[in-house]
């Protein structure tokens, strides 16, 4: 059945993937696991209203049932609402016509005298005054509402949504055409989560803690749910696992920096306290381990339902692996920690390039994820070599189902990659992946080595790149892409 899906006008690239991941989680594709579909990226059917740009917040989506639609909308972060559309038109006469011709057996069950209702007037691209809103609601008398009005807690919510095309002064892109929709709300996102989990109320924070909205989006991409086990190999202050735990998943985290995971800033300001603060179940394990040399027992595989992480890519925090720079180069002999200092000794670590880090991550995920399990992580891209097409690491065990870009500065973006494990891990595949990785590194990833990314982001602007700058600025700027 087709539903009207209205998104928040932000994080434009993340909206459809979120809805599709959740639709899969709530069984929109039946018992058949999603990864068996060949056309994964487009497993849901989408349609745009007439003359709307793909970045429009208004979409039509085909979902199998109202239950799926409600579950998806209520769990999502970016869906403002999913509506059963009763009618649409480019003016109020057309709308009346459409609503009147919508079958009565669909409408009447929601208009009965023993129910309560509320009508909400909403707009995109303009503001409608309270007076006008009331006028619009009065104009709906052709719908036989029998129930009582209840503004606080109605059984049914009806939405009248207007869009405006003459929005040259509003700073919004011309993504919509004047259109009026009237529909019954099936479900909507619970954005109250965001102020509740916002970082400024979090007791223990690090410089790269994931903001609440993005963390919830990541957990939705990973389909975190009760009974599932979610692992974060770069757990830090636990900001991503908090969101997974909120959705009921069991969590497990590892980090190379013992000061972050073990000590925090005191007994009531550490990773554990971040979970306690929200009354969430604690992670079932936190450990100190090196992503480069994971401590899992041989033969252990397919235990995690999802791996979610934000690998250190060297812009705000650099990756480390154990070893020590001089030690790895052979300049100094290994330092033998005297026994009396052993307990407090913090061993030196060496820089860990992003390419290597992501390769290790893919290898770990290929082994430790269950079939159909999801790997969700951020990957930085430089916008200079932006031809619209980015190249990402590939792995024979995985299928990329979503890549959503968030622009961070004029120079670089981060892309949230969602990969589904479609093939069991074998030594041969691991070897094939290693060869692919080396090829990829040769061709696309030179800038990822050492601190190239850091310098590309922070080096002073090059005068000769002025042309590029002009070209970039002539591209339409969408408010949503920058937030």
């Amino acid at each position: 059945m087709w539903y009207l899906c209205v998104f928040y006008h932000r994080l434009l690239d993340y909206r459809k993937p979120e809805l599709e991941s959740l639709a899969d989680l709530f069984g929109a594709f039946g018992d058949r696991p999603c990864f068996e579909f060949d056309n994964r990226g487009n497993s849901l059917e989408w349609r745009l209203p007439k003359h709307h740009h793909p970045d429009s917040p208004f979409h039509f989506v085909d979902l199998p049932s109202q239950d799926v639609a409600r579950n998806v909308a209520n769990r999502s972060i970016l869906v403002k609402g999913i509506y059963e559309l009763w009618g649409e038109g480019s003016n109020y006469e057309e709308l009346e016509e459409a609503v009147k011709s919508y079958p009565d057996e669909q409408k009447l069950p929601y208009l009965t005298s023993d129910s309560t209702f509320k009508i909400i007037v909403d707009s995109f691209g303009k503001v409608i005054s309270l007076q006008e809103q009331n006028n619009r609601i009065r104009g709906l008398t052709y719908i036989p509402f029998k129930g009582r009005v209840n503004l606080k807690n109605p059984d049914h919510k009806f939405w009248l949504i207007e869009t405006e095309n003459d929005i040259t002064n509003s700073g919004l892109p011309p993504v919509v055409q004047r259109r009026i929709f009237f529909g019954r709300e099936v479900g909507s996102a619970d954005r109250k989560l965001l102020p509740m989990y916002q970082l400024k109320s979090r007791t223990y924070l690090g410089p790269t803690a994931m903001d609440a909205e993005m963390a919830f989006l990541m957990s939705n991409q990973a389909q975190a749910a009760p009974g599932k086990l979610v692992f974060d190999p770069f757990v830090g202050t636990g900001s991503i696992l908090v969101s997974a735990a909120h959705f009921g998943a069991m969590t497990m985290g590892a980090d190379i920096d013992i000061r972050v995971v073990r000590d925090g800033r005191g007994p009531d300001c550490n990773v554990w306290s971040n979970f306690k603060q929200y009354g969430l179940p604690m992670p079932i394990a936190l450990l100190r381990a090196d992503n480069n040399l994971p401590p899992w027992r041989p033969g252990l595989k397919e235990v995690f339902d999802a791996i979610i992480c934000d690998p250190p890519y060297g812009v705000r925090a650099g990756g480390r692996k154990s070893g020590g720079r001089k030690l790895l180069k052979g300049v100094v002999d290994p330092y033998i920690v005297p026994d009396e200092k052993r307990a407090d000794h913090i061993p030196s670590t060496a820089p860990y390039s992003l390419a290597e880090c992501v390769h290790d991550l893919l290898d770990l995920a290929a082994r430790m994820l269950i079939m159909g399990g999801r790997l969700v992580f951020f990957f930085p891209v430089l916008r200079e070599d932006d031809s619209g097409e980015y190249h990402f690491l590939e792995h024979p065990c995985f299928k990329l189902v979503a890549a959503s870009e968030q622009i961070l500065s004029s120079r670089y973006s981060r892309v949230l990659l969602t990969m589904v494990k479609t093939c069991s891990y074998t030594e041969e595949l691991a070897e094939a992946a290693r060869i692919k990785h080396l090829e990829f590194k040769e061709n696309h990833l030179k800038w990822l080595e050492d601190s190239n990314l850091h310098s590309s982001v922070f080096s002073p602007a090059d005068v000769s790149s002025a042309d590029a700058k002009i070209r970039k600025e002539s591209k339409p700027k969408y408010r949503g892409k920058y937030v």
Binding site: L229, L287, P334
Partner: protein, 133 residues
Amino acid sequence: MTLLTHNMLSSNIKGVTNGFPLHIEAEKVVEKQVEINHDFRRNIFPKIKWKAFVDASRILGYVELPEEAPEPSVLESDHEFLGKFHHALLELHIEEGALFCPETERKFPINKGIPNMLLRYNLQEVFAFLILL
């Protein structure tokens, strides 16, 4: 650290062929309540190395688990067993103590419930120690 974690970890020192299971030395064990989830237990049960799990639970003083791994079917029927399994797997926590590599005796300290599985810096120590021997 839970026994589930213990069941997943091994010593990954190069050259060690049998780094599992790690020996446990528990100085402080605490019990934390963890909500029961049937799906999770059903998924995790087949991944558990039973003998290592039972041995570890005995070291912590919990003797209720059967020596032999039960059939997966008990997960659906035997509630008493389920409770014990859940308790040993997730509710017994080693707060302070250490894990030891079964071959090299390399120590992985557990501090505030967090096992430190990092080893590269101490690998050299082990070699230095072996040379001294």
